[in-house]
Symmetry: C2
Amino acid sequence: MTTQPDLIQALGAKANRLRIHSIRAISEAGSGHPSTCLSAAEIVATLFFRVMRYDPKNPASPVADRFVLSKGHAAPVLYAAWCEAGLYTPEQLLTLRRVDSDLEGHPTPRLPFVDVATGSLGQGLGVGVGLALNSRDLDKTNYRTYVLLGDGEVAEGAVWEAAQMAGYYKLDNLVAIVDTNRLGQSQATMLQHDLETLAARFAAFGWNTVTVDGHDVGQLLDAFDKAAATPGKPFAIIAKTFKGKGVSFAENKDGWHGKPFKKGEETEKAIAEVTAAGIDEKVALPIPAPTARPAEFAAAKPMEAPAFKPGDEIATREAYGFALVKLGAANPRVVALDADTKNSTYSDKFLKAYPDRFFEGFIAEQNLVSVAAGLAARGRIPFASSFSVFLSRGFDQVRMAGVSGSNIKLCGSHVGVSIGEDGPSQMGLEDLALYRAIPNAVVFYPSDGVSAERAVALAAEHRGFAYIRTSRPKTPILYSNDEPFAIGKAKVLRKSAKDVLTIVSGGVTLVEAIKAADELAKEGIALRIIDLFTVKPIDRETLVANAAETGNRILTVEDHYPEGGIGEAVTAAVADAGIRVARIAVTEVPRSGKPEELIAKYGIDAAAIAKKVKALL
Amino acid sequence: MTTQPDLIQALGAKANRLRIHSIRAISEAGSGHPSTCLSAAEIVATLFFRVMRYDPKNPASPVADRFVLSKGHAAPVLYAAWCEAGLYTPEQLLTLRRVDSDLEGHPTPRLPFVDVATGSLGQGLGVGVGLALNSRDLDKTNYRTYVLLGDGEVAEGAVWEAAQMAGYYKLDNLVAIVDTNRLGQSQATMLQHDLETLAARFAAFGWNTVTVDGHDVGQLLDAFDKAAATPGKPFAIIAKTFKGKGVSFAENKDGWHGKPFKKGEETEKAIAEVTAAGIDEKVALPIPAPTARPAEFAAAKPMEAPAFKPGDEIATREAYGFALVKLGAANPRVVALDADTKNSTYSDKFLKAYPDRFFEGFIAEQNLVSVAAGLAARGRIPFASSFSVFLSRGFDQVRMAGVSGSNIKLCGSHVGVSIGEDGPSQMGLEDLALYRAIPNAVVFYPSDGVSAERAVALAAEHRGFAYIRTSRPKTPILYSNDEPFAIGKAKVLRKSAKDVLTIVSGGVTLVEAIKAADELAKEGIALRIIDLFTVKPIDRETLVANAAETGNRILTVEDHYPEGGIGEAVTAAVADAGIRVARIAVTEVPRSGKPEELIAKYGIDAAAIAKKVKALL
């Protein structure tokens, strides 16, 4: 049995070994953040060599305790821990930040032990909430989740969104450690070493807390023991540390945030000082093995088909709710979340059907996305919904989910001026621009109940980020229940040999386009109509082939601003095919009014479409 | 002298009058949120008819106390207050939500008494911080700022970003009132009527707090008195209220969030109940007049010209810092903010020159944007900077600034893969897509020091939102110091009669395009090169004219994802002119590496451009 003093000595020495690895790797790279690695060394050593249960030979183990490095710029100390655990040689660490190395400047899931990319601060705790919810409420297993934050990043509101959700759900399998090293990038933090105030904030958000000296391994061990032994609340360890700890010329000094030690004398002096503080472990530090059992999932079945009747009218947002229920029956991995809009997005249908797989996220959309990313990291398929405009609050989290390749799905409802009287603050007119810009995203814009249900099924099948754009007004059913849909395949809704122009649209404006075509048909003007279905990837082939049959003319119509939406997507897709594309869209900040008044006022209704068609012919 | 009981009676009656106006207007509109107006009635009555100093005849008065309705869906009770103050007739209130009325579903600055649009929850307190900072530290006047929040919206992290900044800056001229009505849109809030926990949260964030019965005018009067008399900290009034207060069938009941009372019996029953509670004021309620003096600004002078030497190399981010200092000298309205990246964005130069006009916002970008909007609402011209990716955290706040027409300027640095080793989490590759989608935005993408300085000057002159995209690497000076720049005017950098193709670009890829042109010139291939300068508005005329002279061929190159960036902007702009546009951009999630390795790997360097040009010819 290891005596406590020996254990403390060994973990202290381990911390210094992490320091040396970090310094060497950063100096070799010539860029990076050494001082933040030095402040976290004892915390990381204690976690990786005493507290956490994992398998160094299987870094992707699904049953290991989770570690989220929310302060992603301390990546080298994480890589150093895995080196000391046996996954890397010290020489491999020296490939840090090289283009041919997965040891990137900030951690990404290219590494098997990283659940989500970090580096945009303040996102890790929300991911941790997702991981912890999954462990306790879904997998019903026992892995624990540890999130290491910096004190600078707790200024991010997203941290408090995560903290309140962890408190509300009483996630006592979640531990946050705040590496309170006093110094931000450009100056001291707001609270500096006022640990008590920081602890009071976590306490007010529903956490048990303890303040410790973050360089005192004994205090850290006690804190982690207490965290494990204290049920009913998440646990925050507020650790007083010093940036640059152990290196005299950098310790607790401003100006060393993103600055490597110079190769040569400066680096060697730093390493000599750390070495002198002790790097030999007197006793072995065995890594506890995971004890969790893997979650088991029944295989997914095909989702039940839509069941609309001809003449039905339904909002795509409501069809989303129907579909989510069917998807929940077909696929046990599917979970749903909402931000207190579930009676508007219709995700409440899923809540009623599967209360154990629904998480209310309240009005905190950044955290909603991060929690979803945490759930996705453990094999769940989360669908998170709110008004499109409010989801834009979480854009940076979605961007990071894109970097991670996270398998999350968002549904943004209430898009466009067609929501009506609530006015511009509630109208999603930028969402296509936002989500098209995420690499590998699938952006669905269903135009009726059938396609909305199919979009949900296809979103679940797609591996990666998907966005579903739903509308508020009821619109007619356009497709038969057995119509096949696929990602990247547009639908030709109207077609004749006499068509003189192709209209490309989606959602409420597609319905307006059909009305316009009906009117123009009376005047002998035949139009081809294409429902894009997925704005990304876009069905270039269908667009080009149909435009070629209609005088190489396309008109796009959308309840969205002109930038980054359907018009630009279509124009870019067919740019090299000699096709002329005209576009109509909402071109100014709208105002309140009835939906039909607004689509007329902003020039995207049937009359405006008909007028534009005539002008183009 | 009015006795206190009479005052309390009168304010209670006033609150009921506000209730009746709200109910009637919403019932007439057939949509809206009556229950949230009813919970706030005493708070609003006390503020508007006893506490706040303003001039009902001059609702746009710049010296009046400020009121921000952060819970924007309670708009009708705000309009009702202005009706009772004499600005509207009761009949005018009945135009609520009509397309021909400025009384929109949520408040916008179309109304003279509204500083910023609200309706996306959790943004008002940050705006209030900006208003309060302006009063105390810039105008050095005495107006006070009151922000009314809902308890649902305090789940938004942005609220805590604002709370911490108010606490840090000890804004004792700022009062937050939380209308704690227990019920959100779809269910009860997390804390429901646990006022003490909510107060503890504000206290931990640096506020003085008091809890009151929000329907007890006497308690509210005492609370506002205490707020005015307690220096050194911002003041939070946590008011226990009931949603639907005063209407028996709605009070404290779920399911009445966005639901009007039915016209006819239901509405009349509600009004009868409120009327019976008392609507006649026994004493007059004189509105205190503002005592603040208007701020005086020296007239802006032209900004000093750039002063680079031929052969200089400078990063556009650093030129931003130089320019900001010059702009600060030329225009006293200019202020700067940063999110703890000032030594990377170079806004620290402004801090050094004008410490009184710089506000450190710490790592809380949502709030940074909202504070800027508050400052802009009082005539300041705020420039807020951070890494481009981190600013994307505040997209919803920027969107709302767009709805407001706020005169704010953002500078996003460290764009694209050319930042190098820090990796994808730090690379701004979506910013053009985001900010192009803001109506009336100007999106600058300067390519050298001279144009970066001119962009800053032009951003200040533009009335409305502007975004400046700056790069990390040093690049050559391309323009003479006296080169004139204008919004919406591109620059033709290279031109000959033999040009076979026009390249359109900006930033580091423009420099690569010049290198490619130099190489291809050796092979006898002449290229035209256009520096877009503003991506929005785009200079269609220059693009079309030059493309026409180069075989109607354009190649765009950008350090940005393909969607919503330069390529799509150019393609859309020239779509009807018979010009073929090819595009190269970053098409996958990048990784860490040296800048020159990454621009090569992701196909946007000189070699990739030259190869693409040859393929196109």
